[in-house]
Amino acid sequence: MAISRGLARRTVPEAADIISTVEFNHTGELLATGDKGGRVVIFQREPESKNAPHSQGEYDVYSTFQSHEPEFDYLKSLEIEEKINKIKWLPQQNAAHSLLSTNDKTIKLWKITERDKRPEGYNLKDEEGKLKDLSTVTSLQVPVLKPMDLMVEVSPRRVFANGHTYHINSISVNSDCETYMSADDLRINLWHLAITDRSFNIVDIKPANMEDLTEVITASEFHPHHCNLFVYSSSKGSLRLCDMRAAALCDKHSKLFEEPEDPSNRSFFSEIISSVSDVKFSHSGRYMLTRDYLTVKVWDLNMEARPIETYQVHDYLRSKLCSLYENDCIFDKFECAWNGSDSVIMTGAYNNFFRMFDRNTKRDVTLEASRESSKPRAVLKPRRVCVGGKRRRDDISVDSLDFTKKILHTAWHPAENIIAIAATNNLYIFQDKVNSEMH
């Protein structure tokens, strides 16, 4: 794999700058990031330039806005973080772009529009919009549109509040382009994009007695083509495919995807490491990709008994699980992503490493997103983690991995080999060097 580094952004090391989600829009022209400080930054891909071929594909800041503010729930005496948990783009319907952003409780619909002309020559208003003294108006004129510097305007269109008691972990726009769903730890709600004061509960796994609670919803997504189908993953490692045609409340799944536990690997941490942290349908809609703590798995929608492919992300951590439990890393929620043709999958790891797996050749690679080891437009070198024994030059031993540098959020351009990697407060954009195959 030959990937060159495009650019790194947002280098101020503040907690609020830690990137919490990354999402390409449907064409890949725009890339949105959300951070712990409640901000959304949108990057736009520069148009191709014949004079400077290197600039092609680079993403520059397009717009930045504050999506969520910290809040306090006075009734429950709880702080509500402003951190952006997820961003989802809506399919583009007109010249404007729209996206949904959510923190733990509230989902907002934002409209992003461009303006490069402004009206001038109003009869009753001056340049700043103030009313003119009518005695000075002696003649009438026709206002005209004058060109101006491009301005990107972001405006909140809808606020979907009060729909969730627990923390929202996923939002997903339906292929009908009219509805979307939001999932928290125990429930999934269905919303209409135009209606903010009403949502329908489609999944509820809350037990009558909270002491009986042993399982939570960890992620959820609509099928890319069938608007009646959606999947949700659980902290016990299972996936449930639900069909909204079956009943209004989809508490009874249509299909349950679950892999029997391997007795040889059983431990106190079996359940924690099997908890699914992310689920993504393939672009084709035939497969599902799930990430748990140590592996990434591909499931065929037609086979529930076991995944068709399992890839080890960092199996060398299997002997370190107790320490990872003690320092809480075992609860990290790594995401996963498909490439445009569903042939390569990508997911993050520790030490600013991320992994790619080619489903056809079964080759895998570990790459590093760090400013120290890569210069702009340099080719990334594969990295290797050494698990005891002889160490080759440039290998890194398991004991020297930095567990504070974790790549949780990644995104793949919908059509091209361009990936976005969020490494703490840095966003890295890597591009296939010659736009050739990834393998």
Binding site: L75, K76, S77, L78, E79, I80, E81, D104, T165, Y166, H167, N169, D185, L186, K206, A208, N209, M210, E211, D212, L213, T214, E215, V216, T218, S235, P263, S264, N265, R266, S267, F268, F269, E271, I272, S275, R318, S319, K320, L321, C322, S323, Y325, E326, D328, F331, V387, G388, G389, K390
Partner: protein, 198 residues
């Protein structure tokens, strides 16, 4: 992959395997106790100004339940030192977990009174926070199955146990511990004494 590399890998696996099978009953118990202590610390520390992550909480809770079952099943290797906090008699493990889960519900879900177990009638309300022997049995059979207890410790990080100052004091077993396989040991205060004692 390079051929030589594979050999190294398998060498390491053998080493690890040796370490895993080196566990005596004292080591196992000490490991369980350490894990139990870590888990309880996590449960207590997670109550802050923000609503805790329910996923993390449930996973820790389930791990605690497994540990609880394993500690009850495992034979007692040694007498623990004197309890540090003998006065806290009602500070039992399941009561702690139960109260935290209740707190979670009341703090996060007070909009849903019909579903809250405050007063509504029904068999659910008869379930007490303290697990009964049947509950423990169900739990242990679910997690342990027919396989040996050693299966649980295949991925043990030995560093956790090496940190333990005293693995097995020389005194004979104390009557605090139940006989192997006995269900009398669901007296959770005993587990807490073991933890505090270690």
């Amino acid at each position: 992959m390079v051929g030589g590399l594979k050999r190294k890998h398998s060498d390491l696996e053998e080493e690890e395997e040796d370490e895993k099978w080196d566990w005596g009953p004292a080591g196992l118990r000490s490991y369980q106790q350490a894990l139990l202590q870590i888990s309880l610390d996590k449960v207590q520390r997670s109550l802050g100004p923000r609503a805790p992550s329910l996923r993390r909480h449930v996973l820790i809770h389930n791990t605690l339940q497994q540990l609880q079952a394993a500690l009850c099943l495992a034979p007692a290797p040694a007498l623990p030192p004197e309890p540090l906090f003998p006065g806290e008699e009602d500070f039992s493990l399941s009561a702690t977990i139960g109260s935290i889960l209740r707190e979670l519900e009341t703090s996060m879900d007070d909009t849903e009174s019909p579903q809250n177990p405050i007063a509504p009638p029904g068999p659910q309300n008869e379930v007490l926070p303290q697990p009964d022997p049947v509950f423990l049995e169900a739990l242990s059979s679910r997690y342990l199955g027919d396989s040996g207890l050693d299966d649980f410790f295949l991925d043990i990080d030995t560093s956790a146990v090496e940190k333990e100052p005293a693995l097995a004091p020389p005194e004979p077993p104390h009557n605090l511990f139940c006989a192997p396989g006995s269900w009398e040991c669901n007296e959770l205060d005993h587990i807490m004494e073991i933890i505090l004692g270690s």
